[in-house]
Assembly symmetry: C2
Homo-oligomer: 432 residues x 2
């Protein structure tokens, strides 16, 4: 089965955007160009930021995913520098991106966007399948958190005005310096805005602007809205965007993006407990306590095998966190079956799935030797498939207050493991 | 003993700044005003960002620490809104900040800075100990990564020009919109700069400017350099600052700051092994392998008690990471002694100290029951003192290749624990 990227797409703050923009579709055909040719100078050399890994996957793949999950965007063109064409093609294949074409760009941002636009022209033989869209979105590969709502707004505004772009308030005052490096004047912050991405254009307007602009502009300019104004006499509509549109520029931005993705991944947990007696009570308490920390907690009380369809649906609803409650540490049958389902749905192609195997009964003498070994072995095996398995031993206590203490500390450990998704701790057995 | 904040100060990228600016002192007296009155609107309400905790400590404390570790800055005035005066005072007490005075600010940024400046005037009875400095630094409480080098540069430039401020290149193009919300024109990015902090002024120039400016400016303006230009006819010198000067504005910025602090804290590790036989070899291999991941690795091969002075010096050199190698899990004597030293030096007042207790021999039958219990108990106790203790069991293997595998996986676990400094995992025993 081919991995299906959009089925498992996930976005910071997705809920609101879906509710607001999910059912609207622009009346025009829409394509997108994602310039991804940057060299990463501002990161202090090394890997260009669009190829830096977040949870093991390159940043550019998150941005492609954010665009391709929107059904009304027909074709996506990613523009990379010549030396990265093959890398980009392998990323598209590995993460199952669809409707996405790689195009070799120029040496500057404007030249790369121009190459991307040219790929849509019928005369272009290297990408014969692409159709020239009525409206084209231009969006940076290093702004992964773009949502459907703002894309819809810039597209419909471009349809009406010919051009549109997202803006944000200025965080710092902007100043002009005189020739001697001193303050000449400062701009009134209220009158100016930062120009961000996405932007959208009637295809012919921006394409014509690129055709007419000078070599100097192609080499030193950066602002597409400016070209549309100058060469196509088109005054772009400016649209206030959300803060998440920011551009991953410095190392600290990668850290921020990593944390935001991790936050979003912790919105749903599924608890599976095919157990009896004490374990049922523990499952219930875990469920109730987890609800105070996580938006959606689902529980299922039958065995994984009897419940395969239901679990597949949960996966389709973008749940990447599972707690599997067992009686004995050595009993990993349910965990094994869950892993099979995870594998069959390709859930872990885009995001690491966290699976925590909870065990109550640790009275067995050979507990840590044999039980640990089988869990560690399984964990090592499935880590290759991006499934992160951790063990958790809960001391069951008859006293209600003490039991709740154990549950509280279990919930702290569970949410910390699921928040961090740290592959280094895979196969470890924690104790609550 | 009073906690001594500056002794243990730590700064992102500190090495370079110390080398370059450490020995230089401005020829004038210098004070600093840190406006910290923001309400945190852009964070989506909740705790104002200057009071948000990073590794358990409020952001504003990191910024104060960054300023007070510089010996040539005499007095620091932190300006907070009325409702936060007591909170701020308790922060200063708890983290042992010195030369720092809390002042109640006004309802806007400019009014707060003006209050801060007024605190330095002799006529001010509420802060009789403050001396009016020749040059005053103004720096945001939410820019914790300010370094001595840029502070020195703005102060000496202010001495010469009357005013000076740090600038950064613009990340986005700045545009002006027309009345109908469309693009009017875009600014040439090369000609403009973002005005950042720190700034510095001859005290009288900025104080006079605040005295003369209008109520409208006090309410709606934000740029101190602008006031100096308009009312004191002083053209500020603009100084290109490092990227770490950025302002913690959004939630993502807190995440970024958290990660940058954690990176810096992982620059030094100290290994303590008062052991014989196999353990000596393991200690050596750990040392050699850790060196590939961490800038400075120190080892000491005598017992903690014989080595107390040496360890205290290591603490003074800003080492917050310790690995203690023991033969038996139940033997925590060395670990206990190290904890005593940590406590006596107040090393953990400002930063959580990580202590990893490594154990080789796990042949004891009661290993996980008794050994684990004593480690968990100690961990729980010292967690209150901001010392984070984790256990690590290493399977000793005679085969060299296999032993190196164990060491490699130990190093991954050790560096992950030290990077994350997650209090939730305290007392857990991991296995390599």
């Amino acid at each position: 089965m081919e991995p299906s990227a959009t089925d498992f797409s996930l976005q910071a703050g997705e809920g609101s955007s879906k509710a607001e923009g999910g059912r609207r579709r622009p009346a025009v055909s829409v394509g997108a160009v994602l310039p991804a040719g940057g060299s990463g100078e501002r990161m202090g050399g090394g890997t260009p930021k669009q190829f830096c890994a977040l949870l093991g996957r390159p940043l550019v793949s998150y941005t492609i995913q954010a665009v391709e999950r929107i059904s009304w965007i027909s074709d996506i063109v990613v523009v990379v520098s010549q030396e990265n064409v093959e890398i980009m093609k392998s990323i598209i294949k590995k993460y199952g991106h669809r409707r996405t074409t790689v195009v070799e760009g120029g040496v500057t941002r404007h030249r790369s966007i121009f190459s991307g636009l040219n790929a849509f022209m019928k005369s272009n033989h290297s990408s014969p399948l692409l159709q020239k869209p009525e409206v084209v979105i231009i969006h940076d590969a290093v702004r992964p958190f773009v949502e459907e709502d703002i894309l819809f707004k810039v597209v419909t505004a471009a349809e009406e005005h010919g051009a549109a772009g997202a803006i944000r308030p200025l965080v710092s005052t902007v100043i002009a310096s005189s020739a001697d490096g001193c303050l000449d004047h400062s701009l009134d912050r209220a009158k100016y805005r930062a120009s961000e991405m996405p932007q959208a254009f009637l295809f012919d307007i921006i394409h014509q602007a690129y055709h007419q602009c000078s070599d100097y502009e192609l080499d030193y300019g950066t602002e597409c809205l400016h070209l549309a104004l100058k060469y196509s006499k088109t005054k772009a509509k400016l649209i206030e965007g959300p803060p998440d549109l920011w551009k991953v520029t410095y190392k600290r931005d990668l850290y921020a993006a990593d944390s935001l993705i991790k936050d979003t991944m912790l919105q749903q947990i599924c608890i599976i407990s095919n157990t009896k007696g004490d374990a049922t009570q523990v499952g219930f308490l875990l469920h109730e306590t987890l609800k105070n920390h996580v938006k959606v907690v689902k529980s299922t009380a039958t065995s994984v095998s009897e419940n395969a369809n239901h679990l597949q649906n949960i996966l389709l609803e973008q749940c990447y966190n599972f707690v599997c409650i067992n009686n004995k540490l050595s009993d990993l049958r349910e965990t094994h079956q869950l892993v099979q389902i995870l594998e069959s749905t390709n859930a872990s192609v885009l995001y690491p799935v966290v699976l925590i195997s909870v065990h109550l009964d640790i009275l067995e003498n050979d507990f840590f030797s044999s039980g640990m070994q089988s869990l560690t072995k399984l964990a090592k095996e499935i880590k290759k498939k991006n499934i992160l398995l951790y063990g958790l031993v809960m001391h069951y206590r008859k006293d209600d207050v003490k039991l709740q203490e154990t549950v509280d500390s279990s919930v702290s450990l569970i949410t910390a493991l699921m928040r961090d998704r740290n592959p280094v701790f895979v196969g470890q057995i924690l104790v609550a």
